[in-house]
Amino acid sequence: MDFDLSEEQQLLKDSVEGFLADTYDFESRKKIAALPGGWSPEVWAKFAELGLLGLPFSEEDGGFGGGAVETMLLAESFGKYLVLEPYLATVILGGGVLKRAGSAEQKAEHIAAIAEGSRTFALATTERHSRYDLFDVTTTAKKDGGSWVLDGEKAVVVNGGTADRIIVSARTAGARRDRGGIGLFIVPGDASGLSRRSSPTQDGTHAAEVSLSGVRVEAADVIGDPEGGLPVLEAVADEAIAALCAEAVGAMSELTDLTVDYLKQRKQFGINIGQFQALQHRAAEMFVALEQARSMAMFAAMTAATEDATERRALASAAKVQIGRSAKFIGQQGIQLHGGIGMTMEYKAGHYFKRLTMIDTLFGDADHHLAEVASFGQLVSAA
C-alpha cells in the first residue's frame, strides 16, 4: 500500500500543471471557449508535444505506456483548469475502444494519429431513451454484402460536432435492450448519410446529435466482434469514470480553495465572513466531502485493472456515486458561500459547479451507479 507518486509521475504532473498554469488561466479559457468548435488546436498540439495524447497507449501501439494513475493525474489537472479540449472523447473513449478491441491495422491507422494530435474522436453511444444503459441500443447496423449500413440517432455525443472519426454503437442482432448483438463502427465525421448538429453544453464543451441514414461502413472499420461490443464499451466506460472522478476532484479542490479564500476576504457586519461559525462548518463539510471524493478517485484509478468485469464495474460505480454526492454538495455550497458573485458567468466558481454537474450525467449519475452497487451487493467484502 502506497500513495506516493513515482518520480516519473511527479514529473508528468509538474509538466502538465506548469503548462496549464502558463496558458490556461480563467481569462485564457474564456477566449478558448469562444473559438470555433470551442477548443484550441494550439493547446491540442502542445498536449501532443508533451506526450499527453499518447499517454494511455502501450508503447507497442505507439503510446507511452501510462496507466490509470497517470490518467488520474492528468485528469485532475484538467479539472483544476477546466480544460475544454476533447481529451476524454478522443484519447479515453475513442482511443480506449481502439486499444482494447481494435485490429492491428486499426490501431496502426488511428492510435498514432491520436498520439500526434492529428485526429480527434467521439464515442456515440447515448440515444434519446437509453439514459445510462450502454446496452440500450436502437441504432441498427445491417450487413450488406461485405459492408454494413447504419441507421439511427445518437444523442449528446461529446465532441461529436468536430470529431474526425465517430465510433458508433449499433445493434447488429437481438432486441433493444439485449446485452449481445451490439457492434462498434468507425465512421468518418463527414461520412455520406451522417449529419450532426452540435451545441455548446452547460460546462463550456460541445456535444452533438448525430443522425445516421444509410451510412455505409466497410468491414475494415468494424471494431472487433460485430455482436460483442458491449464488454468493450463497459471497460472503456469504467476507464472514463476513473478519469471523470479525478477531473471532478481537481474541480472540487479548486472550488473549495476558491470558496475558502473568499470567506477570508469578504467582509460583512464589519468582519470577514469566514469568522462566522455557520460558514466555517459548511467549509469544513466541503473539505470532508472533498477528501472522501479524493479517496474514491484514487480507488477508481487503482482498481481500474481489476480482472473480474463484474467486480470492476461495481468498484467504478462506487467511485462515481461518491464523486456525484461530493460534487453536488461542494458545487452547491461553493455557490452558496460566495453569495451573489457565485451566480455570475464572469466568475470562476459557477463554471466549476457547472462542470461538476455535467460530470454527474456522464456515464451514469449517482443514482444509476448506486443501483449498480446495490445489485453487486458486496462492496464491503465478507473478508
Binding site: F3, V288, Q292, S295, L370
Partner: protein, 398 residues
C-alpha cells in the same frame, strides 16, 4: 501508487486472524457479534492474551513493550480485532495514559505503571470532563492544591467510562487559577482506592451504566503522582487527544455491522419477501458501504502520511476520520434498527438479578440499545462540531 497490501502485509493479516481465531473463545466472539457488551473479565482476559503474545501494547515504542510494527500493520491488527469482533482494548490505559506516561512521565512512573497497563493489572479511567467543562475542557474546575507532601484534590468529574472497574484515574486538575485557563492545569495520577473518591453510575438512554460521575472530596495524592511539569497538563491532554489516530474511524466496527445488517436482512421480511431483496433497502446499504470504502482509503492515506509527519504531530485530516467514522457507525446502527423494525421495541436494561428472558427474537434485543448508545460517538473525543472547528482553523485557516 498502489492500493493493494504487500505480500508481507497480507501474511501478517493472516497471522493476526489465525491468532484471534485460536485464542478468542467462540462464545465470547458470538456474544460480542450479537451486540452485547464485554464484561470487565472479558476485557482483562483478552488484554492478557494479547500481552502474553507480545501484542498488548502493539503501538508503543519497543523499549516499553511495543512491537515496532509500522502504521499499516497497526491498522491491520486493529481492524482484524474489530471485525472478529474481539473485546476492544481498554483505550484509557493503552492509548491514553500509557503514551502520556512514556512520553512525559518520570522513570519511576514508567517502571511502576507501564507494565501494569500492558497486562491490564491496572484498570485506568479518564478524569477529564466535568459538568461545566465538556467541549470547553480547559474550563475545568476540579482543583489540586499542594498541601505538605500531597496534592489535595476537590471537585467532580463526569462521563467517566467504566470508572466503576477502575484501579486508577488520570485527572486534569486546576493548579493555578490566576493564569490563562489552559496554563493552570496539571495532569495527576490518582489511585481510585484513595479515601474521598466516590463513584456514582449514570444510566444512559440505552439502559446501560458504562459512564459515571466521580467525586473528589479532599483526596490526598502523593506529589510524585504529577506527570511532567506542574501547569503543563493541557499540553499533555492535547497530546493524548490527538494521539489516537489509527483506529479513530472504527472502519472495522462498521464493516462488521454491515455484515450483520445483510445477514439479518435475509431473515427479516418486507412485503412478504426477505428485506435484502428490497431494492430501496439495498441502496441504503450501498450508500453506507460506499462512504465506508471512501473512509477506509482516507484512513489509509492518513496512515501513509504518518511516516512523513513530525512525530507526535497529528494530521488535521484525522478530524475527517472522526466525523465520517462516527457518522457511519451511527448510520449502520440506524440500518439495523430498520432491519428489525417493530421488534426493536422491548426494553430490557441491564439490571442485576433479572433473569426474565426478553420478548421477541433473541438477536433483536441489542439493536435498539446499540442504536441509542452509539449516539455518543459523535459527542465524545471532541464532538463533531468541535472537529469542524478544528478543520476550519487548522486545515482551512479560517
Amino acid at each position: 501508487m498502489e492500493l493493494r497490501f504487500t505480500d508481507e502485509e497480507v501474511a501478517f493479516r493472516k497471522e493476526v486472524r489465525a491468532f484471534i481465531h485460536a485464542k478468542l473463545p467462540k462464545a465470547l466472539r458470538e456474544k460480542l457479534a450479537a451486540g452485547h457488551h464485554p464484561t470487565r473479565d472479558d476485557i482483562v482476559f483478552w488484554q492478557k492474551t494479547l500481552n502474553d503474545k507480545g501484542w498488548g501494547v502493539a503501538h508503543w515504542p519497543v523499549q516499553y513493550g511495543g512491537t515496532g510494527w509500522d502504521a499499516v500493520k497497526q491498522y491491520i491488527f486493529l481492524e482484524e480485532m474489530m471485525m472478529a469482533p474481539s473485546p476492544p482494548p481498554l483505550a484509557f490505559g493503552t492509548s491514553m495514559v500509557g503514551p502520556v506516561i512514556y512520553t512525559f512521565g518520570s522513570e519511576e512512573q514508567k517502571k511502576r505503571f507501564l507494565p501494569r497497563i500492558a497486562s491490564l493489572d491496572d484498570w485506568w479511567c479518564q478524569g477529564f470532563s466535568e459538568p461545566g467543562a465538556g467541549s470547553d475542557l480547559a474550563g475545568l474546575k476540579t482543583k489540586a492544591e499542594k498541601v505538605g507532601d500531597h496534592w489535595v484534590i476537590n471537585g467532580q468529574k463526569t462521563w467517566t467510562t467504566l470508572g466503576q472497574y477502575a484501579d486508577w484515574i488520570f485527572v486534569l486538575a486546576r493548579t493555578d487559577a490566576t493564569v490563562k485557563k489552559q496554563e493552570g492545569i496539571s495532569f495527576i495520577l490518582v489511585d481510585m482506592k484513595t479515601p474521598g473518591i466516590t463513584v456514582k453510575p449514570i444510566q444512559t438512554i440505552d439502559g446501560g451504566r458504562e459512564v459515571n460521575e466521580v467525586f473528589f472530596d479532599d483526596v490526598k495524592v502523593p506529589l510524585e503522582n504529577l506527570v511532567g511539569q506542574e501547569n503543563k497538563g493541557w499540553d499533555y491532554a492535547k497530546f493524548l487527544l490527538g494521539n489516537e489516530r489509527t483506529g479513530i474511524a472504527r472502519v472495522g466496527i462498521s464493516k462488521q455491522r454491515i455484515r450483520k445488517i445483510k445477514e439479518m436482512a435475509t431473515i427479516e421480511q418486507r412485503g412478504g419477501r426477505p428485506l435484502i431483496e428490497d431494492q430501496r433497502f439495498r441502496e441504503k446499504i450501498a450508500e453506507v458501504e460506499i462512504e465506508l470504502k471512501a473512509l477506509e482509503i482516507t484512513q489509509l492515506r492518513v496512515i501513509a502520511g504518518e511516516k512523513k509527519r513530525e512525530k507526535g504531530k497529528p494530521d488535521p485530516a484525522s478530524s475527517v476520520l472522526k466525523i465520517k467514522g462516527s457518522e457511519l457507525q451511527q448510520a449502520t446502527t440506524e440500518l439495523l434498527m430498520e432491519v428489525i423494525g417493530p421488534h426493536s421495541a422491548p426494553f430490557t436494561p441491564e439490571e442485576p438479578g433479572s433473569n426474565e428472558p426478553p420478548i421477541g427474537p433473541e438477536w433483536a434485543q441489542t439493536i435498539a440499545p446499540t442504536y441509542f448508545n452509539v449516539r455518543k460517538v459523535s459527542i465524545y473525543g471532541g464532538s463533531n462540531e468541535i472537529q469542524k472547528n478544528i478543520i476550519a482553523k487548522a486545515v482551512l485557516g479560517l
